[in-house]
């Protein structure tokens, strides 16, 4: 297990390093000279050169990269050119919003997906299965930002059940916070719920047809126990895999969801930064998302190896 973890961590570090290099080079490939931009249009060549030296832009790329890595490692992500605030601080205030939104969306998706997936298997060939399949098909085909618009139109504006936008800190005011996040989280979770429904159904059908389940049935073990012990255990492996695989889609979806419901999260920070060409923020956001992505992937791998010991020993090599 420790060896497994070390290998994973080494891989994660490599991924991050590659990402850092790409981000570093990407920002430097941007059109426009930052020194010229900072010194102003009327600056003399000497003044531009002075600014360039001050920013360290006249040094070799490798030295610049070393300094970039060093400052990132110490938590200094630079200063926003749009607001003048430290980027680290901007991320610290927006990240929790996105984490709450995505976390709640995953919970919603897992609960709905597992329930419908199991239901579909239990009621094969009946209307309930058809309903679950239809939900999965439509859930995969509906753009979630459109669903968000409709939800605002009907549930927030029409019926007034939920606030149409805004964010309340969920730790300070749990009920109000949840009330504000409920609609966005359900909307963001729908696509994931559809995928989970499909996979849970498929995995349950497969497991229930295996010899060991038939044997268990023959020995008189109750239906509910079989379902929990064999069906859901196998579905759990599938579940962890899906959440790992859908992570990217979830992050992308969170950006749009934040935009529709006017949530002050990482997504809005990113979009504002892109449209105002706030490169320090863009660079930092991409780094932070990559870091989060890598960390969650490690978590998924560890969970996976806990649920399915075959992975650790390499017994399930394809």
């Amino acid at each position: 297990m420790i060896r497994f973890l070390l290998v994973r961590l080494a891989e994660a570090a490599t991924t991050l390093l590659i990402a850092a290099v790409l981000i570093f080079l990407g920002v430097r490939a941007l059109p426009g000279d930052p020194a010229l931009a900072m010194a102003g249009e009327e600056a003399s060549p000497e003044q531009v050169a002075a600014v360039r030296a001050e920013l360290g832009l006249d040094e070799p790329l490798i030295v610049q990269f070393g300094r970039f890595v060093q400052s990132v490692a110490t938590g200094d992500l630079g200063t926003s050119t749009r607001t003048g605030q430290p980027v680290t601080q901007m991320i610290a205030t927006t990240l929790p919003v996105t984490l709450w939104l995505s976390g709640l969306a995953i919970v919603v998706a897992v609960v709905i997906g597992l329930a419908l997936g199991v239901l579909a298997e239990r009621r094969r060939g009946r209307p309930a299965e058809l309903g679950a399949n239809l939900f999965a098909l439509i859930g995969l085909s509906v753009p979630n930002f459109w669903l968000g618009l409709l939800a605002i139109l009907v549930l927030a504006v029409g019926l007034g059940w939920f606030p149409a936008s805004g964010y309340v800190d969920i730790l300070e005011h749990p009920l109000a916070g949840l009330h504000h996040l409920a609609l966005p989280a359900v909307i963001l979770g729908t696509g994931l719920a559809a995928v989970i429904t499909r996979q849970t159904r498929a995995s349950m059908i497969e497991t229930m047809a295996t010899d060991y389940v038939r044997t268990a049935r023959a020995t008189g073990i109750g239906k509910a126990r079989i379902l929990l012990r064999y069906g859901l255990r196998n579905s759990l492996i599938v579940l962890v895999t899906i959440v790992g695989l859908q992570l990217g889609g979830l992050i992308s979806g969170a950006v749009v969801t934040e935009r529709i419901f006017a949530l002050p999260g990482l997504g809005r920070l990113t979009l504002d930064a892109v449209f105002s060409r706030d490169y320090p923020v863009i660079q930092a956001v991409v780094l932070v998302i990559t870091l989060g992505y890598v960390l969650i992937n490690i978590l998924v791998d560890v969970l996976y190896s806990v649920i399915n010991p075959q992975i650790r020993t390499g017994g399930a090599a394809s």
Partner: protein
């Protein structure tokens, strides 16, 4: 290290496809099998309709996509001359919808093409040659779930938002899944008798892969393309909605939705049609893809796992 993030359904290593049969002989029954199921018929008709709308859109549209009629903004659907109403600038919603579907399909086709053109050779290589597999599969694992939006943000930051960049970001994002599918098929086919026979005759790797393996992976590639298509269509709408994709005044379903959000209280119907169009396109390809998979591989028809 094993593939920890291997997608659960055993599609790629499915051995029920009768791999020893020559590819072309197997394909003859596909169309008949596809059209024999209700799902297949519905999917085929829907996809045909979407493609027709995309190809003939500019000629079917009653007005230009940017033609304004300032005397008649916010017309309700079923107004004479404007079957689906008009937007805030009096532009015909139906015409913009048809052009938008066309743009969606262009981005979708470009993204799928990119994923196929780059993913297929890499998948063949990884499935056939172990040393390459180590590198390619590790990279695929890492890239598989990377948020395409971050990629799009990066591209936009460097070169600006455009249809091409949206297609590029969506294409790149879908290369890993294509590699996965082709690699899985190649691994399976390597063990097939006719490939072993070809290896025994001292045929070179290019000949074996091109002549014996590739033709038999085509069904899997086509099915995967139908999976990528709706993802790319939603992705384009999402990017354009955020301002990172197609730029106004060029028509896009995503832009129509983001416009509609501005005046959603005044003209709710403007927010309904573009979303319905996206959903219809995606439903069409999802249903068609599922039916096509079953037609290619009858053994999965009952499980119908994704």
């Amino acid at each position: 290290m094993t593939d920890v993030l291997q997608p659960p359904p055993a599609r790629e290593s499915d051995d029920g496809a009768g791999s020893s049969a020559p590819a072309l002989a197997r394909r003859r029954g596909i169309l008949r099998r596809l059209l024999s199921s209700p799902q297949g018929r519905v999917g085929t008709v829907l996809v045909a309709l979407v493609l027709l709308a995309a190809v003939l859109g500019p000629w079917l549209a009653p007005h230009g996509f940017a033609a304004t009629d300032f005397a008649h903004p916010f017309q309700r659907p079923r107004t004479i001359g404007y079957p689906l109403g008009t937007d805030d600038l009096g532009r015909d919603v139906l015409s913009r919808l048809l052009h938008g579907v066309r743009a969606s399909m262009i981005v979708g086709v470009l993204a799928v093409t990119l994923a196929v053109v780059i993913g297929t050779p890499l998948g063949l290589l990884a499935g056939y040659w172990r040393p390459a597999d180590l590198v390619v599969s590790r990279l695929t694992d890492v890239a598989l779930a990377f948020p395409f939006l971050v990629l799009a943000v990066g591209l936009t930051a460097i070169t600006g938002a455009s249809l091409t960049n949206a297609a590029l970001a969506l294409g790149i994002a879908n290369i890993p899944t294509m590699i996965r599918v082709v690699r899985g098929e190649t691994l399976r086919l390597r063990e097939a008798d006719f490939v072993k026979a070809a290896i025994a005759t001292d045929a070179g790797p290019v000949r074996i892969l091109g002549l014996h393996v590739l033709p038999n992976t085509i069904s899997a590639i086509i099915v995967q393309a139908t999976v990528i298509m709706p993802v790319a269509v939603i992705g384009e709408a999402m990017l354009s909605f955020l301002g990172l994709g197609i730029q106004p005044p060029a028509p896009s379903l995503g832009i129509m939705l983001s416009d509609a959000q501005q005046y959603i209280y005044r003209a709710p119907s403007a927010a309904v049609f573009p979303g319905l169009a996206i959903m219809l396109i995606c439903l069409a390809f999802n249903i068609f893809g599922d039916a096509l998979r079953d037609a290619f591989d009858p053994s999965t028809a009952k499980g119908s796992s994704r």
